[in-house]
């Protein structure tokens, strides 16, 4: 059973997520703010933290920094679950530290699959990192590789969002992907396209045709932006 921690200052959100996630088979801890989150992490290490951005007095990004700056919590995966779209500046700064971000309102059915996917993907990456470290690769390169993998996920989402506003093209993403490919070569990892897209693939619901209209709507507009730019 996976353990989740939800950090959100809105009591209604805490209520529905704990009911739903427990029903889905997660063990859930809900906390109302960044400070409480950090306190809680002293005793419990969840498999994934769902973090709201707009909170008082300590917001989501500050909480994220604190989590990443402490050796005990550094490697816990974090997914932003937010009402406000993260700004390009924020994603540039913190994108490398989060597995993904999801906009509220999110459809529970698709969220459940997505959460498991993120946890498993992170676990795979974690094991991969462990193996690479024992094989004697430079920890700095390994770190860069992990950060870049995460960055590409949010970059694709960001690019998709601003494609019309800024008329950006895929060059930036392609450069990042090329860089990632080189790092994989350096680290002796396979470089097939299939494998590299695993981070993206995990967000795809397993049963596409079985989705109801509502789910398709949320998939198209919110959670799965990166699918389109990913393929």
């Amino acid at each position: 059973m996976h353990t989740l921690m939800l950090v959100d200052d809105n009591p209604a959100i805490r209520e529905i997520f704990s009911i739903f996630l427990e029903k889905t088979g997660f063990q859930v801890h809900v906390v109302p703010g960044g400070k409480e989150c950090l306190d809680f992490l002293k005793t419990t290490v969840p498999d994934l933290i769902l973090l709201d951005i707009m909170m008082e007095p300590m917001d989501g990004w500050e909480t994220l920094c604190a989590i990443r700056n402490s050796p005990a919590t550094r490697s816990i995966p974090v997914m932003m679950l937010t009402g406000k779209e993260p700004t390009p500046f924020e994603l540039q700064q913190y994108g490398k530290w989060i597995e993904d971000y999801v906009m509220k309102p999110v459809d529970f059915k698709t969220l459940a699959g997505s959460l498991t996917g993120v946890i498993e993907s992170h676990r795979n990456m974690h094991m991969e990192v462990k193996r690479l470290k024992t094989e004697g690769f430079d920890p700095a390169v390994i770190d860069e590789y992990c950060n870049l993998r995460r960055t590409i996920v949010v970059s694709k989402k960001l690019m998709h969002r601003f494609r019309d506003t800024w008329r950006v093209n895929d060059d930036g993403i392609r450069m990042q992907e090329e860089h990632l490919r080189q790092l994989r070569v350096t680290l002796g990892l396979p470089v097939s396209g299939q494998d590299m897209n695993r981070q993206v693939e995990r967000n795809k619901p397993s049963d596409d045709d079985g989705m109801d209209e509502q789910s398709k709507y949320w998939r198209g507009n919110n959670v799965y932006h990166n699918n389109r730019s990913g393929n």
Binding site: A12, E15, I16, M54, T82, G83, K84, E85, K104
Partner: protein, 346 residues
């Protein structure tokens, strides 16, 4: 028309008397006669005649040419020379005093008459011309813009006082010289570059330039001749520093306002999406049990939307004010599409 008063300067009294007779016969009055230069200047100052008849050869310290020079300079009264013999050197000296005519002795009455009439006519014309030039100059100097007029050889024809100050040069020192000579400090570089295009294509050129801490809109206009060929080029410096500062202020305020709005949008985004998420969650779990909670969340959204509407109203108030005050003056504020504006109900 009243007949002119003539003053006679002649050191030979018989000749002077003869001239007086002739003059009076012609119907003019004689305001006085002087035999020496010093005496002449004194009496001319007193009597202020319309014309002076001057013998070039005078006994005494000053000759006629010197007296004429002073009369011209001090009183602006036209002088006609009377002389028995005119050698080239003398005439060359006399020319400098801008005489209105020469009469060679012996003269006849008709010649004297026509020379006096011509001199008077010429003097009147010159006065009128000078008056017009003063008017034009006053007009040019009344304009706060710096203005320069060039001919197609790029020589300075005229500049106004503001332009003289800009160039740090006296207007008289510049007039007639190539404009490039005013460009010692390089401030006219851009103007000179565009000048050729104006001369060649006869089209107006306009650009903005910063100079010594101020902003100018600089325009080069071709002025066509009667035959539509290029006669002159006007160079005009219009100071737009205040306008620029106003624009900068407006855009600065605009940017901070936009940034504020963007922040507000994000807050509202978050505040609306949270209740939406709650509603979706309640419905997903069990909508019959959570109906009161769903209603509570809907009420929250309703309150937020009301706040949005109020924000729109406030913005509309500011927009109307700006349009009312700046639409006719400046085009920095342009009217919105207005397709859904219902005439600002307040």
């Amino acid at each position: 028309m009243e007949k002119a008063a003539v003053f006679i300067v002649e050191d030979e009294s018989i000749v002077a008397e003869d001239i007086r007779q002739t003059i009076e016969n012609l119907g003019y009055s004689v305001s006085g006669i002087a035999r020496s230069g010093e005496d002449a200047l004194e009496k001319i100052m007193e009597t202020q005649p319309d014309l002076v008849l001057m013998d070039i050869h005078l006994a005494g310290a000053m000759d006629g040419i010197e007296v004429a020079r002073q009369v011209h300079e001090l009183f602006k009264i036209p002088v006609v020379y009377i002389t028995a013999h005119a050698d080239d050197e003398l005439l060359a000296r006399a020319k400098v005093t801008e005489p209105y005519g020469y009469i060679l002795k012996p003269y006849d009455e008709r010649e004297l008459y026509s020379v006096i009439e011509m001199a008077q006519y010429k003097h009147r014309m010159e006065q009128r011309l000078a008056e017009r030039e003063r008017t034009i100059r006053a007009l040019a100097n009344a304009i706060p813009d710096a203005i320069m007029l060039l001919d197609r050889q790029k020589r300075v024809i005229a500049i106004n006082e503001t332009m003289a100050q800009r160039l740090g040069r006296n207007a008289d020192r510049v007039t007639g010289f190539p404009v490039a000579e005013c460009n010692k400090d390089g401030s006219l570089d851009t103007v000179l570059r565009h000048l050729d295009a104006v001369i060649e294509y006869g089209r107006k050129v306009q650009f903005e330039q910063q100079d010594r801490g101020r902003w100018y809109e600089i325009a080069l206009y071709p002025i066509p001749d009667i035959d539509r060929s290029l006669a002159w080029i006007v160079i005009q410096y219009h100071d737009i520093t205040d306008h620029k500062e106003f624009e900068a202020q407006l855009s600065k305020e605009g940017i901070s306002q936009i940034e504020h709005n963007m922040e507000q949008f994000q807050i509202l985004n978050d505040q609306i999406r949270n209740p939406l998420q709650a509603i979706m969650g309640y419905i997903d779990i069990d909508c019959t049990v959570f109906t009161p909670k769903i209603k509570e969340q809907i009420h929250l959204i309703d309150t937020l939307v009301a706040r949005l509407d109020k924000g729109w109203m406030e913005s509309e108030k500011v927009r109307s004010f700006l349009l009312l005050h700046y639409r006719h003056g400046r085009d920095t504020v342009t009217e919105g599409k207005g397709k859904d504006v219902q005439g600002g109900q307040t």
